[in-house]
Subunit: 421 residues, 2 copies
């Protein structure tokens, strides 16, 4: 099995100003391609720290994937450093320079300055990967360590530029260079059961797993994903074994099963709607458009999603959803009566087949007597039948919003599955 | 300066199934407390890999912060491993066990099984941090390396459990143990200028910076943040120097200045509205509720945000925003005329002072003749005055949605600033 290390460079990663989404993407793609990501390391824009990371990771792994520090400003030191590390000198790469000029003149429509010429320079000891989406070229270096060739890829830290290079250049180069083992993953999602109970339920299955198959429990927002991973040199055999075991696992958790794809809840609901040829809408108060966002972030969601009324204020609830003022005043915005009226208003005004309506207190403020932070009323259903449920989440605002959205989508999923007419 | 390393444990980090938000949070808090995060390392649920990481990071740093691998299932190996690494044996911790029992019986309302007793065990060579928000206790170990005491914290990987421990236990313990240098950051946000142009504009400022002050360029979605970082043993002097330099920097970029706080665009707009005592609403098509979500994710947004009409379908545009069918058919949903009508509809139906209305093609499908993917019409304004602008973004769906949202919020920000009546 060929090991890979990911090194991300940038002070912003060490002071926590940005979340490192690059590593996750690279890990995913490298893994799918049949390599084993052994370590991910983040270091600052600091020469000593970067060199230490290069020295360590080339011992741990055969493939070293580096992102960040390739910008045109003084805090970006990766390019000259790599040039020195691999014993080269910086030279203009005509294709890279032409690309930078083209971007400034035709796309950014900003003046091309002296500083930008440096963006077309690369070490003369690397293979250049042209950047189709930005200014900084990618670079490939090799070095022999204890008789073994190690390969280093340096890519920009800008996510979509890096992504283009990983998919179009890095993976094809790696697959050409190495004959790789076959890694396969299958993931299923459960709802309504905790990690420990699930573990007890499938204990004997887990104990009997062959050594090349691993089972992982991935709890997230009240749902638990189970992932089986199989590694083998024989791809066909590997897939067959994994699929057989995965089928048994699904049978063991039938009562809590949501999906056997590695896909989010909003996609599960979307597929169900497409399958039934139905459309849905939402009426959101406490989630403030988050459910609409989750759904519409999916490609093709316009086929099953009509829209949302985000009624954040009392007035919006009255004007846009015809919630009665009297009910709002006597029962409060966070009540079963209000979410029922919101659902009816949404179905009437937007005209979809199904709806989710919800109202709650996401915190940190807003708690009322008998209604602590985290209280949420959810209503799902259709014109002829509505269901309500009261949830109580115990976390911070961000997590409460996410929990509310996922649990409301799960409620609608179950409603649609049971809705035979 | 005291160095810290963060080790995150979990196979899911190496196959890219989850984004590591824990590291960013820990880094932020540890940094604010006056320590220097030197490295972040992620390794899998693998004994050899975890031990290698512990061995390496205790050389790099004096503080080692570990998260993950503390769950009750077979793939969680961190606790017994740390027990062995530090030469202890597992014993029941009565307080931890009582906490696990309490959570199962009173909060999760799930049966307490044999497996869960193990969650109350800890190595007898550690100091226990009780987990107020979950089952796995935190653990603190020390070890002398080359005559120097190194301190190790092991925390659960569940984000909100880890966050509670960092804030309530880890930081206070560290501040008690070490006399720390003072680190201060100031960040400003610019709009409408690229990284290179900005660098040219402030080149002489940057060259004259004292050695203990660092300037970083953080480009993100068409905006560039500039961050000054100062390190010194004298806190008062450090803050004074930094504030003076930060004030000069602000003056140099006045024309492109958005905010001198490290805050997102939606918060800048929110503060502006609060200051003016005005409220806003949105009418979203292509962003599908994302702007509403950004705004309502902010605490206190109900003071300045009324709601959104997410009109994803043609029918929703007609029914909820009174966009004329004739205009939709002749001009298309992505047109100046439609966003003007959407804005008018939103202002009329929701009754806010200001609005943002937008319609575009986020991709990958949906391109039309003369309207490629990434075409977006945005309208901002108030009843008596509306402004429109056509954008063209060139990226993937996710990025196009985010770019659209941020640029639309920036348009409204400028509109409000210029709106003197």
């Amino acid at each position: 099995m060929i090991n890979a290390s990911i090194i991300t460079i940038g002070d912003e990663l060490l002071i926590g100003q940005v979340v490192d989404t690059n590593s996750a993407f690279i890990a995913q793609e490298i893994n799918k391609a049949g390599f084993f990501v052994k370590r991910r390391v983040a270091v600052g824009d600091d020469k000593t720290a970067i060199i230490a990371a290069l020295n360590e990771e080339k011992i741990h792994s055969d493939i070293i994937l580096i992102t960040g520090g390739l910008g045109p400003t003084a805090d970006d030191i990766t390019k000259p450093l790599l040039c020195e590390y691999f014993g080269g000198k910086l030279v203009i790469n005509e294709a890279a320079l032409a690309n930078v000029k083209h971007l400034f003149e035709n796309i950014f429509k900003r003046p091309f300055t002296e500083r930008n010429i440096k963006q077309g320079e690369v070490p003369d000891v690397c293979t250049v990967i042209q950047n189709k989406l930005g200014t900084a070229p990618g670079m490939v270096f090799t070095q022999i360590i204890e008789g073994k060739e190690k390969i280093f890829f340096s890519m920009p830290g800008v996510p979509f530029e890096m992504k283009g290079m990983i998919t179009d250049d890095v993976i094809p180069m790696l697959q050409k260079k190495f004959a790789v083992a076959h890694i396969a993953h299958r993931t299923l999602l459960t709802a309504g059961i905790g990690e420990s109970m699930l573990a007890d339920m499938i204990q004997s299955f887990e104990e009997k797993l062959p050594l090349n198959i691993k089972l992982a429990y991935l709890p997230s927002y009240g749902f638990v994903r189970l992932r089986l991973t199989a590694v083998s040199d024989n791809a066909a055999e590997n897939d067959e074994t994994l699929n057989k075991l995965f089928a048994s696992l699904q049978l063991l958790v039938t009562d809590y099963f949501v999906t056997n794809e590695d896909e989010p809840m909003e996609k599960v609901v979307g597929k169900l709607l497409l399958q039934k040829g139905k459309k849905m809408c939402t009426a959101e108060s406490c989630t403030g458009g988050y459910i609409a966002h989750l759904i519409t972030a999916m490609v093709g969601s316009s086929q099953y999603y009509d829209g949302s009324i985000v009624s954040y204020s009392y007035r919006a609830k009255e004007d846009l959803l015809q919630v009665e003022k009297n009910i709002l005043e006597t029962k409060g915005a966070v009540s079963e009566e209000v979410v029922l009226q919101m659902a009816k208003g949404a179905l009437k005004n937007i005209g979809s087949d199904y709806t989710i309506a919800l109202s709650g207190i996401m915190g940190p403020g807003g708690a009322m007597q008998d209604k602590p932070v985290g209280t949420v009323w959810v209503c799902v259903g259709k014109k002829s039948k509505l269901q309500t449920h009261k949830f109580h989440f115990r976390f911070d605002r961000e997590r409460n919003i996410r929990l509310t959205a996922l649990n409301a989508l799960n409620m609608l999923r179950k409603f649609i599955l049971e809705d035979v007419e």
